[in-house]
Subunit: 146 residues, 6 copies
């Protein structure tokens, strides 16, 4: 089955995309976001296999919303990122950081997006900011240049 | 005292900026967002007059975060708008719609920002989307061209 | 254009469905939920007229999710109601109270749903509970029998 | 029926407690918080009249939690206030401002509580801060000295 | 002290209920929800041992709210589940999935409840949906038939 | 660079402040909150190194808001704690428990603060209450007397 998410390959987790994944609950050698990505891929497949038509349509719509239109793809990912940060969803933040970097976002653009989320959402955003910055590092280390 | 907010004049509520404001609780002839703007201006002044240094610094920081940098002002306002929509803060939405339009956002750009917020935040965003679309209308009617 | 919402006519606001609506901002003789319903109808039409394909698909999906399946329609509306109460969305609560009553929910079933939301969501749910109970009264007065 | 809330009379809305209340939906001469208080009293009575045992027990527990213990009553109301502000519940804020003032909170103590909520919760707290400051004014005008 | 939670034994974590629990921070051989259940049991005991009367009453009330009444127990657990999903509380989701399955909920009923939460709460619910589906699997594997 | 946070040393994690920290992702021998503290220190440094002026100012303001003023430091930490609990931010709860204990909060004062948060925020606070009580234990074990 083809779902929308499939076409949105991020740049910074090549290591787990080679079909040689250990089980996601074996913590090494995957770092936190590799675990997230592996778990995400495994469970999305299960969700869509058992889900209703409503579930599947929502997942497709979720992909469609970020396609370039009047706003370009990078801006849309940053919009998803600021929304995810103020809602304090680490997995959503990881996903949109990944996609934004794939779409060409620089470190300065990410930092300014983080600032908007920090000011709008307050100090409770800070723990999520820590994990976001950690993931930017892991993305860049995996080959996504600034 | 001069605070940062003062320099961010929006384009679409000229009618209440002429010093001839009735008390904000007299409902006519102001529409909903004119009331919001009038109440906002009145209370911000009181907050800053009685507030602590912390209060004043936060208000200044809130303004500073939206100044153009690596991201332009329009993009930053759209980031504030998507964050405000998923947090379901009508007054914040009104403010950022206003600022985004002042910074040149088109109706299509606003609609795509609304879509991101709708998908990220779900159907509970819809009541706020209704009021956001109403305000875009009121802004455009007040002279802010698409 | 036909959208899904159109087929979900609630039982308790006949008074404003007769094409003789005053403008929604004229506060009388509509009560609070009549205003909500009128504003909702007016703005949904505008949202769908100006919205993107994504917007329209989400609105349709929102309707589809509440259709009877393994769970009957009344239970699904109560699920939407408990979710709306803990998220503290008055308009959403109004909508689902309306739909649940249309689907045959009794006052006791509504009260027990309110209790779940109150315990899960805490005392911040109470202001919304007040408005929910007010609306149940207005629905029953408009002809929806317990 | 006697419920816990009944013993927590706030100091700043004498005007509507004299049995001469107009219907709460007649907007004058009550200001916003007088309307809130009147609506609160009316609906709490209805909620408790129709509510389940669970509903009534929760309402009693809600009162009991703010009684002086290891922490004094004023501190507990300020704790309820900071929690209500970051959750952005205007009615809850109004209630706890009222109770805190009754328990002797000064303007400076309220301002510092507002600051904690502002920093923790971010700029989305600001619209609620405006209404909180307005209500402090209305409380003080009604006779509650700083 | 006997508290209500004690009588709500779920069907799908027999393995840790035999008094032979290793310390909850030894990660193997417990899976994620076994860890959750063990930690929950250990800490609830401590909370109730050190808690105030208010704490204990709230815990009892929390149990009472889900007892069958006008709505049956399964429906109430699904109401708690949809509320927990839109509030994005993984432990609460785990608990209500467990209880719902114990009360006879089928996979289709769970999927339709997930859909309501997904549409109401948006894409930020998805990471929690992944963990919910994982837990349904673990429950079924532990002997709870569909 | 000196930032405000630096002067707020908590009493209960001496073990990781001795410059002999293993990498935070080596899970032993650190318990959960030692890991939190180590990760917090590491990432705050990175955030401030790469952050904008807005980021740095917000971090300083966050520290300043908790300094003694009309309210003493202990009360302010309890205000931050109740706000963090209803917003369900475990790291924020850990931080404010730590600071409150450093400022002299007793177990009874903490329990009553937890009760306010539990009543305001509802049963979804319970999983966070479990982790808060666990951390109080870890703090006391590390030498912070009641």
């Amino acid at each position: 089955m083809v779902v929308g998410q499939a076409s949105r390959l991020p740049v910074c987790h090549h290591s787990w995309q080679a079909g040689r994944l250990p089980h996601p609950f074996l913590p090494l050698p995957m770092n936190r976001y590799e675990q997230f990505q592996a778990f995400r891929a495994e469970m999305n497949e299960k969700i869509l296999a058992r889900g209703t038509t409503t579930t599947k349509r929502f997942f497709n719509l979720d992909t469609k919303a970020y396609e370039a239109g009047a706003l370009d793809a990078k801006t849309k990912e940053l919009l998803g990122l600021s929304a995810s940060m103020v809602l304090r969803c680490d997995d959503c933040i990881a996903y949109h950081v990944d996609q934004a970097i794939s779409a060409g976002a620089t470190d300065d653009e990410l930092s300014e997006t983080f600032d908007i989320a920090l000011i709008v959402g307050g100090s409770i955003v800070i723990p999520h900011l820590r994990r976001a910055v950690e993931f930017v590092e892991q993305c860049r280390a995996a080959g996504a240049s600034d």
